[in-house]
């Protein structure tokens, strides 16, 4: 078995979740790497949709931004920004949304707006972008983000994007058509919503990670599945594809 980094297994585990998906609405950074890896590895027909309006982009290198010329050049079609949101994302036409964030809570709500108070912020983050509507409209949502007590928090400083709100029933009360975050993948493990409480629950540990270690990197009292498994280690093929993807990209690959 090859040596691999925690970022690598996180990205590879995320790409595996795209098996069987027809189309994916992709945010820049970790989600874009995972989605492009899936296309390279096991889902050559996966339709990548970026919020710049590019539908069916087939980038040969990782795009630095969601509006890269590479995306437009390789797309099946490019539509306007109002159209990509109104005609394509909003009706739930795109199977899977892939998101990352600065903070996540136990119900997979996300903060990409601000650390500290809104009016007197410690750190002003970029803001919402497409995330709230991706998380609302896509039938399935995959979240990929590195884990620490600063990112997996008990209480978000700002709720930019709703995952499962305050838990069971919240999405339907809010009129959200999609099923919400079906999986959260960090650099330590994999979390899925409890079918009753909708709290994100640790269901798999990446090789080398421990429940104790994950608890230490989680800001809330973590629920752990009774069927906890170990994430399959990256195969040589997966690692090779991921590393080639990064090597092909002049630009920095992750956020």
């Amino acid at each position: 078995m090859s040596v691999f980094s925690t970022d690598e297994i996180m990205t590879i585990a995320a790409s595996r979740e795209l098996a069987g998906a027809r189309s994916c609405f992709v945010g820049i950074g970790l989600p874009s790497v995972a989605a492009n890896l899936a296309r390279s590895l096991h889902a050559p027909g996966l339709v990548l949709v970026y919020e710049s309006g590019t539908i069916g982009a087939k980038p040969t290198r990782l795009p630095l931004s969601i509006g890269d010329g590479e995306l437009a050049r390789t797309a099946d079609v490019v539509v306007s920004v109002p159209e990509i949101f109104n005609y394509w994302l909003q009706p739930g036409r795109i199977d899977v949304g892939m998101l990352s964030a600065a903070q996540i809570d136990r119900f997979a709500n996300l903060n990409t707006t601000v650390i500290g108070s809104y009016d007197q912020p410690e750190v002003r983050l970029p803001g919402a972008g497409g995330a709230p509507e991706i998380a609302s409209a896509c039938p399935r949502v995959i979240i990929v983000m590195r884990q620490s007590k600063k990112t997996f928090v008990d209480k978000l400083d700002y709720r930019t994007t709703v995952g499962f709100g305050d838990g069971a029933g919240a999405r339907s009360r809010l009129g959200m058509p999609g099923a919400g975050p079906c999986v959260l993948i960090s650099d330590l493990g994999i979390f899925r919503p409890d079918p009753r409480t909708f709290e994100m629950t640790l269901t798999a540990l990446h090789p080398g990670a421990t429940v104790m270690g994950v608890r230490d990197a989680t800001g809330w009292d973590l629920a752990v599945s009774g069927d906890l498994v170990e994430t399959l280690a990256p195969t040589d093929e997966e690692l090779e594809h991921l590393r080639r993807l990064h090597a092909n990209s002049k630009a920095k690959a992750t956020d």
Partner: protein, 272 residues
């Protein structure tokens, strides 16, 4: 019909202190040259509008042109923070910056409503988030057929919209292609518009489905080849990704930024 002007005259005539100024172009075709001209002419108290403020708004904010920013994603794409934007929000430098913050879908639909001559647009958005509470341009509306409650966003009608396009013809018609963002909507929603172009051509290539702005929807056109650098114009240039990465360092420090402003922006005015 559109007037052909120098960029200097176009900005002098059509961008005023206190204006609501949309500068559009989604990663592609960002009107940097026009942004620099606005800085050089020392416009003040502007309300800047842009889905992705990008480096262009970072520069305008750092230079003290903006009183308010209407936006939906304020980062350096693929790189990280916009430091001048952060410094204004976090430390009121060079002065405080008011924010009206949306999602991409919400802000795009505010332009759609403006372009459509409607007071608002309807979308399924913002539910359960803190975003709606922060903005007076987000409300809700009930479907008269189903009773479903949806988001409503107020129409946005900039005083002036500034874009960069690939081509204008001699009659002042404008054509752009590739990633077209919300350029059509932002121009049609605005009272006035300034378009900088890569090239002025005798005839457009026969492609009637590209975004086309008839001369009578455009106020002024300025011929500014490379006017979207370090962004790009499909068919004319490539995005300078290194510039975007270098901006991260350059913009982090107030003094380094001010030196950049002095040498890269203001000096060009004195050279004229």
């Amino acid at each position: 019909m559109a007037e052909f002007l120098t960029l200097q005259s176009a900005v002098a005539t059509y961008v005023h202190d206190g204006d609501v100024v949309a500068l559009e172009g989604f990663t592609h075709l960002i009107p940097f040259a026009a942004g620099h001209e606005i800085i050089r002419q020392r416009r003040r108290d502007l309300t800047l509008v842009r889905l992705t403020p990008d480096l262009i708004c970072d520069q305008l904010i750092g230079a003290g042109c903006a009183r308010k920013l209407v936006f939906s994603w304020g980062g350096n794409p693929g790189v990280g923070s916009l430091h001048r934007f952060r410094d204004a929000v976090e430390h009121d430098w060079p002065h405080a910056l008011e924010l009206d913050e949306h999602t991409h879908a919400g802000l795009a639909n505010r332009f759609v409503a403006g372009a459509s001559g409607l007071p608002f647009a309807v979308l399924r958005a913002y539910a359960g988030t803190d975003v709606a509470a922060q903005s007076s341009s987000i409300a809700s509306v009930t479907c008269p057929f189903t009773g479903e409650v949806l988001a409503a966003v107020a129409a946005l009608r900039p005083d002036v919209t500034v874009i960069h396009a690939q081509q204008a013809d001699r009659a002042g018609n404008v054509r752009l292609w590739g990633i077209t963002g919300v350029q059509k909507e932002s121009v049609l929603a605005a009272t006035r518009s300034i378009v900088t172009v890569e090239e002025i051509v005798d005839d457009f290539h026969d492609d009637r489905n590209a975004v086309f702005l008839p001369s009578w929807t455009v106020t002024a056109i300025a011929h500014v080849p490379g006017g979207c650098y370090p962004s790009y114009a499909a068919g004319y240039s490539e995005r300078d990704n290194d510039y975007y990465e270098a901006w991260d360092d350059l913009s982090r420090d107030r003094q380094v930024f001010e030196d950049w402003l002095e040498h890269q922006v203001y000096e060009q005015a004195r050279a004229r």
